[in-house]
């Protein structure tokens, strides 16, 4: 006997709205926090390295060796320093004072000017920081070409020339892909927190028991609880959208209606997850631990925000499918940058819908079980 009266759900929702309006905390969490954090990190995150510290141990002290260090620093990627004790250059790496050591041997200039010989310069890089070292490694071919041309005056012809065209983000502005990603992580996490804590609090202070003694059915409670937060979550999305468009000039090529629909599904997934957590734990401390564990690190590390899913082992291509942010990440980037339509995004949208239904049903079922003696 499924009896769902919208009027009862509506009164729960009205009560919840009054509750939210009285509590500046929830409004600040939903509207202010994502906005501030998106602006801060949108501004802070920059993947283009500059001024990487590099130590040069120059045993040659010739014109050629000075030219070489100039080429490194003129590239803008590196800042060259000279150690006080050249014999202790390894210590510079051990003490995290530099990202690499460039060693120029005493006969560098001479070898360079004698024909038929190859003048080698050794570069030791710090493998303890992969991200920095891989960035350096990707800059080196360009440096090597520039140095070879300038030091020897010979231009080496590449066998095949490459002309690259970057679609959707021609200038490779990393903010364009960071900001929608960041918005996804934050909106997802805050949706979980919104319901996880508020409902767990009602269990703790006993008002949930009171609610359960009324003739309201579980589904009505769940719907009534979620609806006001959906509105609040959409308000948060609006702020983040404005920050992205006005603050960072991220283009928006897709349809706004589709974007709102997708946001709705994504927020619902987060809210239902939070609700499930709070129904299961009934305790704010546990609820908070579980929401942060299931919400924060997976959405930062496994959603494709920074680390692409395709680069993960095959198992994780399937495993990550249970994470709502993984799907919304594709949707947000697709709609913002590529102008993707419903045809391209049908898979991720369907996945979100399935998750909404599953999480909502699980929360309701669990709730029902609590009601029975």
């Amino acid at each position: 006997m499924i009896s769902f009266k919208f009027s009862r759900a509506r009164s729960i929702a009205l009560k919840e709205i009054r509750h939210i309006l009285r509590d500046p905390f929830t409004v600040a969490l939903a509207l202010g926090l994502p906005f501030i954090l998106v602006i801060f990190f949108g501004y802070a995150i920059d993947f283009d390295m500059k001024d990487i510290r590099l130590t040069c141990v120059d045993f040659d002290q010739s014109r050629a060796s000075r030219q070489l260090t100039e080429i490194f620093s003129e590239s803008g990627y590196f800042k060259i320093g000279f150690p006080e004790r050249p014999d202790l250059f390894l210590q510079e790496l051990d003490q995290e004072k530099t990202a690499g050591v460039l060693i120029v041997k005493p006969d560098f200039g001479k070898t360079l000017s004698s024909p038929g010989q190859t003048a080698k310069v050794q570069l030791l890089l710090d493998g303890a920081d992969n991200s920095k070292t891989s960035a350096i490694l990707s800059y080196l071919p360009g440096i090597q070409r520039a140095a070879a041309a300038r030091l020897t005056g010979l231009k080496r012809q590449e066998p095949v020339k490459l002309r690259t065209r970057f679609l959707f983000n021609p200038e490779l502005n990393s903010r364009w892909f960071v900001v929608p990603g960041l918005a996804t992580v934050l909106i997802g996490l805050i949706s979980i927190l919104l319901t996880a804590l508020t409902v767990a609090r009602e269990w703790e202070n006993g008002s949930m028991e009171l609610l359960l003694s009324t003739p309201v059915r579980p589904l009505e409670i769940i719907v009534g609880k979620i609806l006001p937060y959906v509105a609040l979550g959409l308000g948060g999305v609006l702020f983040v959208y404005l920050a992205a468009r006005i603050g960072f000039r991220v283009p928006f090529h897709g349809s706004h209606a589709l974007f709102i629909a997708a946001c709705l599904m994504f927020i619902m997934a987060g809210l239902s997850q939070g609700l499930l957590i709070s129904v299961v734990t009934r305790q704010q401390q546990l609820a908070m631990q579980l929401s942060m564990i299931s919400g924060l690190l997976p959405s930062l590390l496994l959603s494709g925000f920074i680390f692409p899913i395709e680069s993960m082992p095959v198992f994780f291509h399937y495993f990550t499918a249970i994470l709502p942010p993984r799907w919304f990440m594709v949707i947000a980037r697709g709609i913002f940058l590529k102008g993707a339509g419903i045809g391209e995004l049908i898979g991720p949208l369907a996945a979100l819908l399935v998750m909404d239904i599953v999480l909502m049903t699980a929360a309701t079922k669990r709730f029902k079980k609590d009601l029975e003696p």
């Binding site: 802070a44 500059k50 190859t118 992969n130 690259t164 679609l167 401390q285 680069s311």
Partner: protein, 362 residues
Amino acid sequence: MNRTLNAFIKKELAQTLRDPRMRVILFVLPMVQMTLFGFAISTEIKRLKLAVFHDPGDRAARQLTERFYSADWFLRVEPEGDDPLRLVRSGRADAALVIPAEGLTRSLARREATVQLILDASNATKARVAESYVSKILATARRGPEPPGPFQLDVRVLYNPTMESSVFLVPGVMSMILCLVTIILTSMSMSKEKERGTFEMIISAPLENWEILLGKTVPFVLIGMLDTVLILLAGTLLFDVPVRGELWKLLLAAFVFVVTTVTIGILISTISKNQQQSMLGSFLFVFPATLMSGIMFPVENMPKTIIVVAYLNPLKYFVTLLRNILLKGGDPWVLWSNIGVLLLMAVATTALSFRRFHQTLN
């Protein structure tokens, strides 16, 4: 140590660990997460979907194409129709390489071959890496090894020569998990008592203020240290992360870090009136701190105006310590300077909590 304090610490421990669900959250989930993230994440970008458009009769192009798919960098996508742009736009390929219509064999012979690469740059990092992979493979397009030019860079990567991702990620993920577990646990412990009214009872007990704060700190430091050992075991046994430094350095660094995060949690707890406020406080700390731990984006690149925030992040110092101890054996200067900064933070936050605590009581 007096008996009341002793009993107080025991009570706190028992209260926290009583709930079996909490024990799972505190001790099992961190190991599970460490394992999951360690296996999943790789800093190397692999398996990009690439379609190569060329004339089927072009032998040089066919050979080149095979070279693209021989590494793990690219997955083969069959070129459909003759519109590479549409293929990339639709998302069926991340990249499309277009060989000139006259054929690579002929243009190579004329020494002026130009190929076009169309990339999906909606992920800018991925696009940049894809371009560097393609140019690397193209550089070897001419048969036979190149004779070395008059100038050559001889690059060697120290400490982690194969650039193993896990070696880089395990310290970062470890510090994230530790920070998350300890901060949330501590920040809510005191506000929970305030909400339930049991806080008054503690205050009326024959305990000095510092004893109450100590009694709230010690149990969580103990729990944090147990977590450290568990996560360290998972991190080093499952993944090939070397431990080159002495164990005491590792444990000392972890201990100081756990003390710092616990004191930050206590500070949040003394400031907030209820658990919701604690949650907001710990979220405001944990989210930026984990994002700026250095494994997601290079922290030194941050604009000068806000880089101060990065230097206030205890995770930054702990990640530096962990990497240095695990991979470089723990240089004394790095060890003591970073531990010094963490201790300074712990002392400053404790002083603040103490003042705040005093105010609340009066």
